[in-house]
Symmetry: C2
Subunit: 665 residues, 2 copies
C-alpha cells in the first residue's frame, strides 16, 4: 500500500480483505482472490466517490454500482455490511447457505444494495451500459433531479466475453460519459495467467470503441485510484475504462498472483499467514475494528446528506413543476391508469390479413403515445420487427430523450442492456429481433427471468413460414425452448386482436419478462362470433361447437387458422370440433382449474395439438390419446407456403390427423 | 472500376454482379446489394489468389473460403457456377426454391464448394478461425502436404456480433498468419448507415487484437485488392483484416449505397438501369458472355494443376513415409479400428464415488492416446470440466501441434471454432464449459446440429447440485433445451461406466454433435448384477425386479441413484419396481419398438420420471398415469445436498411420489 494512504484507510481496506476471506473460509466455498485484489478500488469508490445512500438503496438518483465479476460477491457483501446497507456480520457468516441474504453470486431483489444479479460473465458490464442509457434518458427528460454516474467493476472474464465488446461498442458510440468501468487487471483466470489466451491490447481496444482509458499501475494506491476516477468523471463525451493493475489474493504469502486463489477458500493456515502479512492484529475472524466502524458511520452520514440535499432539490422541482415531477414519479413507479388501454385499436375481419408483427407495430405505436416510459428498438431489424416508434427520435448522443434505440447487430448486449435499463427504473424497455436469434440473447433472457424484470421481447418471423431465408433463419425449437425458462411469459398470438392482448399483457405485467412471438406472414382477423373464454387468460375457445366436442384442437399463432379451416370440413363430416387458441401456456396454467377445464375439459381425451415448432412439451396437452402436429427437424429454404405444406401444415393434413385421433379406440 | 483492370476482368466482375442480381430477382427474394459490392474482391480471390479446385471440393489442401455474410449467397453461387464447381444457371434460377441446390443461405453438405453454413452473423468468421486452427495443427503435424490459407468474407453485421470479437481475439493471440479476412466495408446495414450505431475504429480494434490491417479505399480496383491480399499472405505471425470500401448495390442508379438494396430484389426496371450503367449489353437474364466462360475455364485448368501438383507432392510423401501418410488419411477420413475402445477403463463399485465429470476426464485421456485427432479444451474451466489432456501440450503459436486448446472465456466463439475445426477435416474436436453456459454457445450448437458435425460438448456441473454458486450457475432448463435441438444427441450418464459409454458414443458418432451432461458431485458406480438392456442403446434397465413391475422409474444421471435407493424401500413394502436409466432419449428413440418396449413396456402405465431439470418434455414417458419429479423454477445458493433436498430430490420424496402413482386408480 502506498505511503500516502492514511492508516485508517489502510485498515479499512484490510477490513474489506479480511472480511471477504473470512466469509469465503466460513462457507468453505467461494472466491477470495478477486475481492482481496479489488478491495482498495472498491473502498475508494464506496467511500470517496459514489453518491449513494446504502441505508436507502431505492434513492433514485444514487450512483449505480455493478459488480460484473459476480463471483467476487464477498467483496460486495463486505462493502454493504460496512456501509450499513442492510447486511451484518451474521449475514456474512451465512454466505452461500440456504435462505441467507448472501448467496454465492449477488442476486438483485434478494440482497439490499445489489443493483443486478451477476455471475454469468460480461452481462453485468452490459447491464451497466443499460443503466447509463436510462440515466442519460431520464437526465435529458428530468435534468432538474436526475444526474448520476454508473460504476462497473469487472474482471478479465467479463472482457473476454463477446457481450462486453458489443456493449462497449454501443456505449462508446452513444458517448455515455457518465459510465465508468474499473477493470481488475489481475492477469489471472481459472486456467492460469491471462497470457495463455488473452493478450489483446485492452487500452487500444477500448480506445477503438471511443472510450477514454486510464491506467492505474498500482491498484493498492488509493490516491492514484481516486485521481483516475475523478479524471474519468470529467470525461463528458466518452465512457471511461480504468485499467487497474492488481494482484489476486493480495497479501496472501502463498497464493498472491496465483489462479489457486480464484475459486477456493485460502484455508485457515493461509488466512493466518495473510493476516500477518497484512499486519492485521486480530485473530478473531470477521473482526471489524471500532475505528473502521466509526469511519464508515461517518461516511454513512455523508451518504444521508447526499440524499437529503437531493430531496430538497426534488421538493424544489416538485414545487416549480408539479406535473413534471409527477410524471417522473409515475415513470419510476410504473404507474398507469387502470383503463389505459381502453382505446387501443380493435381489429375486425374486414381489416383483411395482417401479420401479427404488423399488428404489433400498430399497437406498439398506440401504446407509446399512452406510456411515455416505453423505449426500445431492434438489433438492426426494426423494419422487419416493426419495432420503430413513429414520430419519435432516435436515442443518440445528440438526443438522449429519443425513444428509438438502434441496438445494432448485438442481440446479446441488447438483452442485457434492456435488463440494465429496467433495473435503473424509470423506463419500460423492449427489444426486437427474429425469433431464431433469440438464441443469441438467451443468457440475457435467462437473467431477466431470474431477476423478474418485466422487459418485453418482440420476436418476429416465428416459424418455418419465414420461407426463403431457409433453416438458418427458421425457428423450430425456439418457442418451446423459451417456454422452458422459469418465469418467462411466452405469448404467440393468432391474429391482430390477440396481438393487442399480448401487448396489453406485456405492459400490465410487472414481474418477469414477456416474449411476443409474431408471424412474418399475413393472418386473417379471427371471427369472434363463436368464441368463449378470454384471450387474456392465456387460452380460450376461438371456435366452438355445439355441446361436448368429439375432439379439441389446441393451437397457437398462425396455425390456429389452419385448425379453423380443418374444423369446417370435419363438421361437414358430422364431427363436433372445438378449436382452442392457447396463446400463452404460462398464463393459462396460472388460471383456476375451473377455467382451464371449461376451455379444455379433461374428459375430452381426443385432442390434436398444432404448432409449427418442436412437439416436445405439448404432450401434456395432447395426452395419451391425442396427437401433435409439430416440427422436430430443421426447416428448408423455399417460399413460406411451400415449406408449410411440405411439413404438413395445411388443412387436409390436419383433417387427416384429426380423423386418426377420432378413429382411435 | 479502375483503369488498370483489363476489359475481360471487368466483364467477369460484371457477370458476377448481373448473375447475383438476376438470381435474386428470379426468386423474388434475397439480398442483391452485398454481392454487387463484393464482386470485385470475390473475383480476385477466386481467380487470382486461391489455390483450390472447385471441380474437386474435397481436395484437402485447398484454400478455404467462407462467406460469413451468408445472406450474400448469390455471390457465392455465382462464383461456384462460373468456376465449374457443381452449380449451373438452372440452379441459380431455382434460388430459394424447394429442393434446389441454392438455398437462401449457403448450406454445407447441400451445395458443392460451400465450406460452412452461414447466415447467423459472426459465426462464419469464427468458423474461419477454427479452420485456420486445424490448418495450423495439421501443418505442424504434416508440413509435407498441408499448407494453405483460409479466407473469410464478412460484413458489418459479422463484426458487430460479439462472437467475432471473441474469435478475433483468440486468432490474434494464436498468431494465425494464414487467416485472411476481407471485410466488406459498405457502411450499410438493414436499418441504414452504420453511423447509426457502429462507429468504432475497426482498424484500431483489429490491431488491438494483434491483427495486421490493410485498407483498400476503392473496392472496385482489382489491382489494389490483389496487392492487399498478397500483403496479407506475407504476414506470417498475424492474421489479416483487409478493410475494403465498397458500395452496396454497386452500379444501381437508384439503390447504390442504400439499405434498400440490402434485402430485396432490385426490381426488373432497376435491373435494366443497372445493367445499362454497368455497360452490360445483354438484356437476357443469367447471361454469361462466352469470353467470361473461356476465362473461367482457363482458371479451372489452373485449379486442376494446383491439385495435380499437390497430388505429386502427396505421392512423394507417401513414398517416403507411408505410415505417416496413412495417419493423415486416417485423420481425414476419421478411420478408427473397430475395437478401438476395447481397453477403456471399466469401473467397479469398489472404485468408490466418482463424479461423472471426473470419469469423463479419465476416459477422455485414455481415448486421446488412441485417437490422435482428438483435440479440444474448455472456456477457461478445464480444471472443473476435466477436459485437459495430460502429457499433451497447449495448442499455441509456438506449438500448433498441441492438443489442449485454451479457448478463454469465449463460449460462443468456442462453439463456432470447433465447428470450423471439424469442417476443415482432420481433427475430432471437443469443447467444455458448465452446462448453464451452454446458453452462451447455443447458436453455435444449433449450427453444428444443422450441419451434422460430430463435435463433442463436455457440459459439467449439470444441475442444482452445483450448490453454492447459486441459480446463476445452476442449470434447470438446459438439458431439455438441448434435447429440443434437432440432430443433437444428449447423453446424461449416471455413473462412470455410463460416462465411458457416452464418450464411446461421441467418438463413434459421425453425424451430428453430441452433448455430454456430467455431474459435479461424486456418484457411486452402478452395480450391474440386476441390469438388462444396454446403455449404448440410450436407455436400459439399471435395476430390475422379478416379473412385471408395478411401477417403472425412469431417470437420468445422478438421480438414477436416488431412484435405486427409493426402490429398495418400496420393495420392502412389497412393490415391484424397475429403474430405467435413460441416458440418451435421442438414441433410445432410434431403437426398434421391440427394444423400447422391452425396457419400458407400454402396458405398465404407472411411471415416475425423475430428473433434476425441467419436467416439460418428459410427459411422453410419464404418460397420463405417471408423475414427473422435475424442477420448474430457478435453483438457490446453498451446499448441493441441501439444494437437492429442498427441491425434493431425496429418496423419501421419491418413495412418496411413487406411492402416489401406485395408489392412483
Amino acid at each position: 500500500m502506498s505511503e500516502t494512504n492514511t492508516s485508517i484507510e489502510q485498515t479499512a481496506v484490510n477490513t474489506i480483505r479480511t472480511l471477504a476471506m473470512d466469509t469465503v473460509q466460513k462457507a468453505n466455498s467461494g472466491h477470495p482472490g478477486a475481492p482481496m485484489g479489488m478491495a482498495p478500488s472498491a473502498f475508494v469508490l464506496w467511500t470517496k466517490i459514489m453518491k449513494q445512500n446504502p441505508k436507502n438503496p431505492a434513492w433514485i438518483n444514487r450512483d449505480r454500482f455493478i459488480l460484473s465479476a459476480g463471483h467476487a460477491s464477498s467483496l460486495l457483501y463486505s462493502l454493504i455490511t460496512l456501509s450499513n446497507g442492510g447486511l451484518d456480520i451474521e449475514d456474512l457468516k451465512q454466505f452461500r447457505k440456504w435462505g441467507s441474504k448472501t448467496p454465492g453470486h449477488p442476486e438483485f431483489g434478494h440482497t439490499p444494495c445489489v443493483e443486478t444479479t451477476t455471475g454469468p460473465l460480461g452481462q453485468g458490464f452490459a447491464n451497466g451500459v443499460g443503466m447509463a442509457m436510462t440515466e442519460a434518458h431520464l437526465n435529458a427528460k428530468f435534468p432538474e433531479v436526475i444526474d448520476h454516474f454508473t460504476y462497473i467493476m469487472c474482471g478479465d472474464g467479463d472482457l473476454m466475453e463477446g457481450i462486453s465488446y458489443e456493449a462497449a461498442s454501443i456505449a462508446g458510440h452513444l458517448e455515455l460519459g457518465k459510465l465508468i468501468c474499473l477493470y481488475d487487471d489481475n492477469e489471472i483466470t481459472i486456467e492460469g495467467n491471462t497470457n495463455l489466451t488473452f493478450t489483446e491490447d485492452i487500452v487500444k481496444r477500448f480506445e477503438a470503441a471511443n472510450w477514454h482509458v486510464i491506467e492505474v499501475l498500482d491498484g493498492t494506491d488509493l490516491d492514484l485510484i481516486e485521481k483516475a476516477v475523478n479524471e474519468a468523471k470529467n470525461q463528458t463525451k466518452k465512457p471511461s475504462l480504468i485499467k487497474i493493475k492488481t494482484k489476486i489474493a493480495h497479501g496472501s504469502p502463498n497464493f498472491e498472483g496465483s489462479e489457486k486463489a480464484h475459486g477456493s477458500p485460502l484455508g485457515e493456515e493461509e488466512i493466518k499467514l495473510t493476516k500477518k502479512a497484512l499486519n492485521w492484529k486480530h485473530e478473531e475472524p470477521f473482526f471489524i475494528p471500532q475505528e473502521v466502524k466509526d469511519y464508515f458511520n461517518q461516511i454513512s452520514k455523508k451518504f444521508e446528506e447526499y440524499e437529503n440535499e437531493w430531496s430538497l432539490k426534488f421538493q424544489e422541482f416538485n414545487n416549480s413543476d408539479k406535473e413534471k415531477a409527477n410524471s417522473l414519479i409515475n415513470a419510476i413507479t410504473g404507474f398507469l391508469d387502470r383503463d389505459w388501454n381502453k382505446n387501443l385499436k380493435k381489429f375486425t375481419p374486414e381489416d383483411g390479413k395482417i401479420a401479427t408483427r404488423k399488428a404489433s407495430g400498430i399497437i406498439l405505436n398506440e401504446i407509446a403515445k399512452i406510456v411515455p416510459t416505453l423505449i426500445g428498438g431492434s438489433a438492426d431489424l426494426a423494419p422487419s420487427n416493426k419495432t420503430e416508434l413513429e414520430n419519435e427520435k432516435d436515442f443518440s448522443s445528440s438526443c438522449y430523450s429519443g425513444r428509438n434505440i438502434r441496438f445494432g447487430i448485438r442481440e446479446h448486449a441488447m438483452g442485457a442492456i434492456i435488463n440494465g435499463m429496467f433495473l435503473h427504473s424509470g423506463v419500460k424497455p423492449y427489444a426486437g429481433t427474429f425469433l431464431v436469434f433469440s438464441d443469441y440473447m438467451k443468457p440475457a433472457i435467462r437473467m431477466a427471468s431470474l431477476m423478474k424484470l418485466p422487459v418485453t421481447y418482440v420476436f418476429t418471423h416465428d416459424s418455418i413460414a419465414v420461407g426463403e431465408d431457409g433453416p438458418t433463419h427458421q425457428p423450430v425449437e425456439h418457442i418451446q425452448s423459451l417456454r422452458l425458462i422459469p418465469g418467462l411469459t411466452v405469448l404467440r398470438p393468432a391474429d391482430a386482436n390477440e396481438t393487442r392482448t399480448a401487448w396489453e399483457t406485456a405492459i400490465n405485467n410487472s414481474s418477469g419478462p414477456v416474449a411476443l412471438i409474431l408471424s412474418r406472414q399475413g393472418l386473417p382477423v379471427l371471427d369472434t362470433s363463436n368464441q368463449d373464454g378470454k384471450p387474456e387468460l392465456g387460452g380460450y375457445i376461438v371456435d366452438n361447437c355445439e355441446g361436448e366436442p368429439d375432439l379439441i384442437m389446441i393451437s397457437t399463432g398462425s396455425e390456429v387458422h389452419l385448425c379453423i379451416e380443418a374444423k369446417k370440413e370435419l363438421e361437414k363430416r358430422g364431427k363436433k370440433i372445438r378449436v382452442v387458441s392457447l396463446l400463452s401456456r404460462e398464463i393459462f396454467e396460472k388460471q383456476g382449474k375451473d377455467y382451464q377445464e371449461r376451455i379444455i375439459p379433461p374428459k375430452v381425451k381426443k385432442r390434436l395439438v398444432v404448432e409449427a415448432g418442436s412437439s416436445s412439451g405439448w404432450e401434456k396437452y395432447a395426452g395419451d390419446h391425442g396427437e401433435i402436429l409439430g416440427i422436430n427437424k430443421f426447416g428448408a429454404s423455399a417460399p413460406g407456403g411451400t415449406v408449410l405444406n411440405k411439413f404438413g401444415f395445411f388443412p387436409v393434413n390436419i383433417i387427416n390427423l384429426a380423423q386418426i385421433v377420432l378413429n382411435k379406440e
